[in-house]
Structures are given as C-alpha cells and as structure tokens.
C-alpha cells in the first residue's frame, strides 16, 4: 500500500506540466512582447525623457484657484451620486436575478426536493428559469462597464444618467453572481426546520435564509460601492459625467496643473469612501 503511494507521488513529480508551462509561457512572453510593442528603454531615450519631464514639470504647482475648485465641486459630487444610484440599480437587478440563479432556491435542495420529485416538467421549467438568470447575469458582467457606458451614451445622451445605467447593469451582473454564491453557502438546517413547521417558501426565505446572508450581502455591496466610486470617476472619459470628463478635458488641453488637482480630489474622495465603508462594515 505504502509503496504504491510513493510511486504515485514520484510519478506526479515527473509530470510534463512544468515543462509545458515554461514552454507556453515563453511563447506567450515573446509574442506578447512583440505585439505590445514593448520599449523598455523608452523613458531613457531623449524623446521619452523630454515628454516625461514636460508632464512632471507641467503638473506643478497644482491649480488651486478658488474658481477652479468651485467649478470642480459639482463633478465631484456628481461622481458620488452616480456611484450611489448605480449601486442601487445594481442591487435592484442583482438581488432578484441572484435569487433565481441560486440552485438551492430555484432547482434543487431542501426547498424543492419534494416538489420536483416525479415531476420532470416542473423540473425543466425551474431549471430553465435558473439557467436564464445565470445567462443574463453572465452577459451583464462580461461586457465591461465602459462598453455599457458608451452604448448608453449613444442611447440616452451625454450626462450622468448613462453612467448610472452602465454601473447598474455591469455591477448588477457581478452582484447577482456573488449574491447567488452567498445564498448557496447558507446553512440549510434553519430552512429545514422552518419547512418542517409548515412554513411556505416565502416565509422560509424571509425568516430562514435572509437573516443568514444579510451581513454578507451588505458587506459585499459596500465593497462594490467603493469600486463604483472609482468606476464612476472615470466613466466620464466616454462622456458619462463625473470627474472623468474633467480629467479627460484637462489632459487633452495639456493642462497638467488641473490634472494634478483632479487626481488629488479623486484620491481624497476614494479615501473618504473607503473610510466610510469600513466604518459601516465594522458596525454590522
């Protein structure tokens, strides 16, 4: 017995994997290097040095005139508003879809075992709902929020609204997936206990399931909100409001002093949001 174990171990250590990995890694590295046009010494050459110097020197001193700052207050607040509204829409999309995309809720598990036993048609109907919910979530989150934003800018025009929709849809997909994972990780025993008292599905859900997962939900949603603030700050690059639009304008006008100020504002905003979110999470 022991001999066999040893031999299987030594066989595994002789597997081809490391060689194959090294081979493919090497090919990917060489090809990517060529395709991406890597120029490692660019910033040591005359042109690169000149550009870098122009940029760094151009940033100082940062633009701190009260006129500019008061002008930037509105986009900064708009960024927060976009992130809050976007996250709210994401929850509204992600929560119902996430529930439907939970296998233990829609298809199998304690809640459904009795119902689907010997009823293939019902099983098929349930399974197709589950599958559709998963497919929609996967579609929502695999298209990057930037592409969503650009498409919504085309559909509803410039301004913060397309940004809200883009974050809502893309983050709805991510939240839905994570919600369903949290749901599936829930302890089944309380559900069983409730069911055996004769509670219906809705009651089991509200009293057995929700209280278990709520802290995790809130915590993850807050984390996504932090991400949404970062995202909404840059969605403006494609015309969806917020600070990003200002950053792009200043960058295109080679106004690096303004860029530095805007980056500092962004830095402070993100830090503040992280702080608030951490405080709320600690209170949970």
């Amino acid at each position: 017995m022991k001999r066999q174990d040893l031999s299987s171990i030594s066989k595994e250590s002789k597997s081809l994997f490391p060689y194959l990995f090294a081979f493919f890694f090497g090919i990917a590295f060489i090809d990517s290097w060529r395709r991406a046009g890597i120029a490692p010494l660019f910033f040591f050459e005359a042109q690169g040095r000149e550009h870098l110097w122009k940029f760094v020197r151009g940033m100082f001193p940062p633009e701190l005139s009260s006129q500019f700052l008061s002008l930037m207050l509105q986009p900064a607040l708009e960024t927060i508003q976009i992130s809050v509204m976007g996250t709210l829409i994401a929850v509204l999309i992600g929560f119902p879809l996430g529930i439907l995309a939970t296998r233990t809720f829609s298809v199998s598990g304690i809640l459904n075992d009795a119902e689907i036993k010997g009823a293939p048609a019902r099983f098929a109907a349930r399974y197709s709902i589950y599958f559709c919910a998963r497919a929609v979530l996967s579609l929502f989150r695999s298209i990057p929020e930037f592409v969503w934003a650009f498409m919504f800018v085309r559909a509803v025009g410039l301004g913060p609204f397309p940004g809200v929709l883009a974050i809502g849809v893309a983050y709805g997909g991510m939240l839905g997936k994570v919600y369903s994972e949290i749901f599936e990780g829930a302890n089944e025993r309380p559900l069983e206990a409730l069911q055996s008292t004769g509670a219906n599905k809705m009651q089991t859900f509200c009293y057995g399931w929700l209280p278990q997962v709520l802290p995790n939900f809130v915590s993850y949603t807050l984390y996504r909100w932090e991400c949404a603030v970062r995202a909404s700050a840059i969605l403006g690059l494609v015309g969806a409001g917020g600070l990003g639009q200002q950053i792009e304008i200043s960058m295109r006008m080679f106004n690096f002093q303004e860029v530095l100020t805007l980056l500092a504002i962004l830095f402070m905003m993100v830090a503040a949001v992280d702080f608030i979110s951490a405080k709320v999470r600690a209170m949970l």
Binding site: D31, H51, M283
Partner: protein
C-alpha cells in the same frame, strides 16, 4: 458588534445571532433616514430619467438598437480584425500583469512592517534611533508609492501614458503594470504581514541570516497566495485591457470605440463576442493554473 467574520469567505456566522431578538434601535432609524436622503440626493443629482427607459418610445428605441446589433458581422476582414484585437488584448494584459508583479516584488519587501523594521526579526537589535529611522523611511516611501500607483485608475494612467509614449498597446501595458503593481503590492504586503512567525523564529534560532530567513522561512509560506492573487489580477486585467483602447491604448477597445462611433453595430457585436470568448478562456486558464500551482 465588530467581528471579522462578515468578510466574504470569512468564518461562519453563528445563527441565530444573539442580538437579533433586540428590536431596532434609534441609531438604525437615523441610519435608514440618512440612506434614504442619500438616495434622494443622488436621484436628483444624477439626472435620472426612468421614463426614457420604460416608456413606449424608450422601449422601442432600445429594441431597435438591439435589433441593429444582429446579426454579428462575420466577414473575414472583421473576423481578422477581431482576432488581431483579441490577441493584442491578451498581450497587453499578460505583459501588464508581469510588469505589475515585477513592480510589486520590488516594493513589497520594503512596505511590510515585519520585514523592514519591527517584529521578530528586529527584536534583538540595539535600540538606536538613527537605525530605526533609516528603516522606517524606506517603509514610508514604499507605502506611499504603492498608494499613489493604486489610487489613480488604470484609465487615467492610460491617458497619461498615451501622452507620454504615443498611441498603441505599449501605453496600455504601462498603465496596467503601474496600477496593478500598486494593487498587488498592497495585497502581497498584507500576505507578508500575516505570515506564521514560527518558521521564522525557528530559522532565526539556528542562526540564519535575514536573507536566508526570507528565502527559506517566508517566501515558501507566501508563494501560493502570491500566485493566487496574481492570477486573480490577471483575470481583472484582461477585462480592463479590453477597454483601454477607448483612450487610445490598443487592443479590442480601440476597435469597439471605432465601431460605436461610426454606428457599425454589427461589428460591435462581433467584438463584444470576442471579449466574451477571451474573458471566458482566461478565466478557465487561470482556474486551471491555480489548481495546478497551489
């Protein structure tokens, strides 16, 4: 109640929680009211026009746009372009992630408190102020460098690098590398500050030098998590690399930008499908590598 168990993937939450029997407190009401106020303020500020979406005309417009996307343009020229964009996106994310790992590994050993100035390794050292300062200084510099790299979003880095080096995939690589370098530096740092001190202590008691402790006591402990985080960031980066082209940094994003700008909806769908395939492949690849490596 402040518990660490609320993080996703954390310890299991006891159920039912003992405080769940207590009714809602005044603070809860205040927090809820604040939340509602925040939503109202955001609603008006972000100029939401739900009627645009849910009215009859709005629905028609959206349906018309979706109908225009189909069928995807599968002519050889577009497919070739999509292929080229996909491979370029892969290349950007791959090189960017490698650059990020290089940056993170260079900085992270200075930005971990237990490796640079405090804890087990430095307990026995004579308390000399200048020596302590000399160690804390690189720590602070490394930490703030990582913070700056991390807080500036990839897209803004891409804008900056497009100005510095010109259009093309190279600024995309730099943007990803610099931003992700900051993120990985922070994540790696957390792993390093969280190591089990016992192997380090054991090695130290045999008289191993600090460099030997690093290589035989610390690196083997943290390597699996380093690999795991790197793969995770690669999955994120492939998604970012797909849109970096919006600001002129190559890859599929550039093609998508052109397709949307010129109202070539059929091509747009082809490129979106290409993103979907690429992202799925990379996710599988990353999951496979994670299984094999850890």
């Amino acid at each position: 109640m402040s518990t660490g168990s609320l993080q996703p993937g954390g310890a299991h939450i006891p159920w039912p929680a003992p405080e769940s029997r207590v009714g809602p407190r005044a603070a809860t009401h205040v927090a809820l009211a604040g939340l509602v106020a925040l939503f109202a303020w955001s609603y008006y500020g972000s100029n939401i026009r739900l009627s645009d979406l849910f009215s009859y005309e709005g629905g028609l417009q959206i349906a018309a746009y979706i109908a225009k996307l189909f069928p995807p343009d599968l002519s050889p020229a577009v497919l070739q372009e999509a292929m080229k964009g996909t491979v370029e996106t892969f290349a950007i994310s791959f090189m960017g992630t490698l650059m990020a790992v290089a940056i993170a590994l260079c900085v992270v050993f200075f930005s971990s408190r237990n490796l640079i100035y405090s804890g087990l390794l430095y307990e026995m050292e004579a308390k000399e102020q200048w020596r302590h300062t000399l160690r804390v200084l690189p720590y602070l510099i490394a930490k703030s460098l990582l913070n700056i790299l991390r807080t500036i979003p990839e897209m803004v880095w891409a804008l900056i690098f497009v100005f510095l080096v010109g259009l093309g995939p190279f600024p995309g690589v730099l943007a990803l590398g610099v931003h992700t370098g900051g993120v990985l530096g922070k994540l790696f740092g957390e792993v390093l500050e969280d190591i089990d001190p016992q192997p380090v202590e054991a090695l130290q008691s045999t008289g191993a030098s600090r460099l030997q402790i690093l290589f035989y006591g610390i690196v083997p402990q943290v390597l699996p998590q380093f690999i795991s985080y790197t793969l995770y960031r690669w999955e994120v980066n492939i998604r970012v690399a797909a849109v970096l082209g919006f600001v002129g940094a190559g890859g599929l994003g550039q093609r998508i930008y052109i397709a949307i700008s010129l109202f070539l909806e059929n091509q747009l769908l082809t490129f979106i499908i290409a993103i979907y395939i690429l992202v799925t492949i990379v996710d599988y690849l990353s999951a496979y590598l994670r299984r094999r490596a850890i």
